[in-house]
Symmetry: C2
Subunit: 194 residues, 2 copies
């Protein structure tokens, strides 16, 4: 069933009655995205939290020189959104698109707020996943400040072992903050050493 993955995702942190689960499920809007299709573009207002069921999305910005900087990959079982825009209701600077044909479930901001009201346990759920995301994000800030490109690549390999063989190197390079050429150089050095 379409909602099985997301319900298990929620059940990791809170217990729902069947009625609560049905109430939640009814709010979810299934949506399909083709490879390279945008879910959100810079300047738009983000009105949904997105849960990935199949495929892979990415959130990134484009700087003044046209270079992409990837903030987040979202493979199945992950949430993604332009949090700044979603929370503030103002235009964001994030682009979100699909790296391959994907299926997602959307939770509208208004429904999410309704859900907090109807089933307060969801305050807890989103508090916990936001806390985890914050820990990850802060670790990434520290990695960017304290590790070399080589070490950042190795850290990425350890943290996302499934993504490493799945994503084009170009995307990984953009996530860890190096050029594709330099990532290639690092990889060949790593291979030579082992």
């Amino acid at each position: 069933m379409l909602h099985e993955l997301i319900c298990r995702n929620v059940a990791k942190h809170i217990d729902l009655t069947p009625a609560e689960e049905a109430h939640f499920s009814a709010m979810l809007i299934p949506h399909a995205l083709r490879r390279k299709e945008f879910f959100l573009q810079e300047g738009e207002i983000c009105k949904h939290s997105v849960f990935v069921v199949k495929g892979c999305l990415r959130g990134y910005t484009v700087d003044s020189n046209g270079f992409e900087h990837i903030l987040q990959f979202a493979p199945p079982d992950w949430w993604i959104a332009d949090m700044y825009s979603l929370l503030s209701g103002r235009p964001g600077n994030l682009n979100i698109d699909a790296l391959e044909d994907s299926e997602v479930l959307l939770l509208a901001k208004k429904d999410q707020e309704q859900l907090y009201h109807d089933v307060p346990k969801f305050e807890r759920f989103f508090r916990i996943i936001t806390e985890n995301a914050l820990v990850t994000s802060r670790q990434r800030v520290l990695d960017n400040l304290s590790l070399s490109a080589q070490q950042r690549y190795e850290a990425f390999c350890q943290r996302y072992p499934t993504l490493i063989n799945y994503l084009p190197q170009k995307q990984i390079a953009s996530y860890i903050g190096v050029t594709p050429e330099f990532l290639s150089k690092m990889r060949s050095e790593l291979l030579r050493r082992q």
Copy 2:
């Protein structure tokens, strides 16, 4: 009164009855820190959320070459903790110390969980401040990936105008990820240009 600042901080996001406020207040442990005194050191388990009433704390790591990398400053009205350690119950890699003589209020993890149980509105409060912290942290990741040192310094000046004249340049350099020498060079170039 000692708890006035923190109660206004909470009131920004949730409304409490006098009884709830008293219940919350009773959990807070006042604590004083001298300049350079550690609240938490690398390898310890973080058991409290810290709210700064007076002075200024900082959270940072020390890399394998002995260089400090500042993750967060906490002036009055801010929360700070080693979130990874606090959430996981495992030893963290963060150091937290006072940049000057400071006064803080501690909320023990156990009390915080009790509070979620007794006054569920606090789930909401901490969800919201965690969301805001996540937006800030992700913006910082993007700044580190896409901006030059110069631009990162200007962004810091805009975002923390009060801190800029208050903190030693050495600390600011460590936050934006450059050497004190290079920060000094950038500042003199900025002055020359204006």
